[in-house]
């Protein structure tokens, strides 16, 4: 069984994002870049399925600029067998990403595609669902547990009402939630080993993907600041204040 993992590079979640003063974007020069946390979880899940003997081949794929190679080496060091780098200088929107991943699916014929439920830069939460639709296959989004039973997967999903369990026939797209697993740390020997693992480079133009970048971002702004509050010294003062505000 082959698993394809979407592995996006994003601004590290610890970075305090600053909007540029002229509103043309956010400051990304010199900030730390890391794998999208949800994609690390996706890769970890794929590796665990391989370790359980369910899968044999784990392929990580990213769509990004030339310097994403180091990022993919990271995925290989974590344990992926191979990597695919779709090279583009432009950030792609989810529909384009989904159409691009569909091309990789046609080429790789995976049984499972695992993606993060959202990327923590654009927070769109779309690509997995779009990919499943274009592929005409099931989607199991927001997964917190995945069991493979032959030709189907039983997936527990974190939904607003609680935990929903569904069965999906394979092949299928699964998107990860935070509690699916805790990704492993990469050890030094793995970094060495990753250097010799296959990394295929494909220019985005060569895939003849119809662009789905239909949205135009016309302005960036810092979020409205909440006005500075007050510190109270004790419970009596707190409750009195809440009563004046009519909140209790």
């Amino acid at each position: 069984m082959k698993i394809l993992v979407g592995y996006k590079r994003v601004v590290d979640y610890n970075v305090r994002i600053q909007v540029k003063p002229d509103g043309s974007g956010v400051v990304t020069e010199g900030v730390k870049l890391s794998p999208n946390p949800f994609d690390d979880i996706a890769l970890e899940e794929a590796l665990r399925l391989r370790e359980k003997g369910v899968a044999t081949d784990v392929v990580v794929a990213t769509i990004g600029p030339a310097d994403c190679q180091a990022h993919l080496r990271n995925g290989l060091a974590m344990g992926a067998n191979r990597a695919i780098h779709v090279v583009t200088t432009q950030a792609v929107q989810p529909l384009t990403a989904a159409r691009t991943l569909l091309k990789l699916i046609e080429k790789e014929q995976p049984d499972i595609v695992i993606l993060g439920k959202q990327a923590i830069d654009d927070d769109c939460n779309q690509t997995g669902q779009m990919l499943a639709a274009l592929w005409n296959r099931p989607q199991a989004t927001f997964a917190s547990k995945v069991e493979i039973n032959g030709s189907a997967a039983r997936v527990t999903r974190e939904v607003d009402a609680g935990l929903e369990v569904i069965d999906v026939d394979l092949p299928a797209v699964i998107t990860t939630d935070l509690r699916l697993n805790e990704p492993r740390f990469i050890k030094l020997p793995d970094i060495m080993k990753a250097k010799s693992k296959p990394l295929e480079t494909i220019p985005l133009e060569s895939l003849a993907v119809e662009s789905g970048d239909h949205l135009k971002t016309t302005a960036y702004a810092a979020p409205a600041k909440r006005s500075k509050g007050v510190m109270v010294k004790d419970v009596a003062e707190l409750v009195a204040l809440l009563k004046t505000k009519g909140l209790v």
């Binding site: 601004v11 979640y13 994002i17 909007v19 956010v26 929107q93 989810p94 529909l95 923590i120 654009d122 927070d123 769109c124 939460n125 779309q126 669902q129 779009m130 499943a132 639709a133 099931p138 989607q139 199991a140 989004t141 927001f142 917190s144 974190e158 939904v159 607003d160 009402a161 609680g162 935990l163 929903e164 369990v165 569904i166 069965d167 999906v168 026939d169 299928a172 939630d177 935070l178 509690r179 789905g212 239909h214 949205l215 971002t217 302005a219 960036y220 702004a221 810092a222 979020p223 909440r226 509050g229 007050v230 510190m231 109270v232 419970v235 707190l238 409750v239 809440l242 909140l247 209790v248």
Partner: protein, 313 residues
């Protein structure tokens, strides 16, 4: 002129208030007409609720046993069929809408606007990115169907008082059977629903254990509040995952939010930035939560929270 189709969210025969919030969003860009689409096994009760929302002109129903559970792969082609002639398809930015809307957008071959937080025009919206650290203005093409999810915390629910007509749609299409509902594990709770409650009491890692969470529940019950939690509290197993508030949990806007033993990580704050009054209780006076709290109190939660409960009489 925009004609809006809203996909109704419902569970156990009850309409979710997220649907009425989508109506408010549609009204914000002066939609010419608003229709609500109810996909269900037996849609009548939900359709009647939707028809009573002020501002809804028409309710469309599709009765089909295949629609008993909200399976995105089953719903999406039906929404696409029903959406013919509409300029906008809206769904709430809840797990229901987040799961479904991109599937609709992809079938239509259009981009999706996620998490509309503010309306500037029928095709121009503001939405948060980077866990709410930046707000972008996005413009979608006016010559394609606009598919979007609506950040429910940003729009009040449209009031009752409508009397829309209800029309049954007869969609004959083959629906996939590759995705099957098994069960929904739902914590039973008599407490108000976290997403729509006007008061929320949340606990974090500082609460320390599932047993200790009783402190939070007791205060919540005294206030008639819903209970929420930080990711750390959920990950540690103190409370179920559906109580998580934040970037990857629920985005809420109660009138009163009490953050207890929560440090105030950006991913948590993005879930509460539209709350009316934020109260923070933390033993660390330097905790970032105090930077955004309207009222802060430094001290041990195990002393303070029972005191608050007592003071409320």
């Amino acid at each position: 002129m925009s004609k809006v189709l809203i996909v109704a969210e419902h569970l156990n025969g009850k309409l979710n208030s997220s649907t009425a919030r989508c109506v408010t969003c549609a009204k914000a860009f002066n939609a010419e007409s608003v229709a609500v689409l109810v996909l269900a096994d037996a849609p009548d009760a939900v359709a009647a609720e939707a028809a009573a929302i002020a501002g809804v002109d028409k309710v469309l129903t599709v009765a089909n046993p295949a629609n008993t559970h909200a399976i995105a792969a089953v719903y999406a082609p039906q929404v696409v069929a029903a959406a013919q002639g509409y300029s906008h398809v809206l769904a709430p930015s809840t797990t229901f809408g987040k799961d479904l809307a991109p599937r609709i957008a992809a079938l239509l071959g259009v981009a999706q606007v996620s998490d509309i937080a503010d309306v500037l025009g029928a095709y121009t919206f503001k939405r948060p990115i980077y866990a709410g650290n930046a707000i972008v203005t996005v413009e979608a093409p006016a010559d394609a169907t606009l598919v979007a999810t609506v950040r429910t915390a940003s729009f009040a629910a449209a009031a009752a008082g409508g009397s829309a007509t209800v029309e049954a749609l007869n969609l004959t299409m083959e629906l996939p059977t590759h995705t099957r509902f098994v069960e929904l594990q739902q914590g039973k709770s008599d407490r108000p629903d976290l997403q729509s409650a006007s008061r929320v009491v949340s606990g974090g890692r500082g609460v320390g254990s599932a047993e200790n969470f009783a402190v939070i529940y007791k205060l919540a019950d005294k206030l008639g509040a819903a209970v929420g939690a930080s990711r750390a509290a959920v990950d540690a197993g103190y409370v179920p995952s559906d109580l998580q508030v934040g970037q990857t949990g629920k985005i809420i806007a109660p009138e009163l939010y009490m953050a207890i033993g929560i440090s105030g990580a950006i991913q948590h704050l993005t879930g509460i930035k539209d709350a009316g009054t934020i109260v923070a209780i933390n033993k660390d006076g330097e905790a970032p939560i105090f930077e955004i709290a309207d009222i802060g109190l430094v001290g041990d939660l195990f002393t303070l929270v029972p005191e608050i409960e007592a003071a409320l009489g």
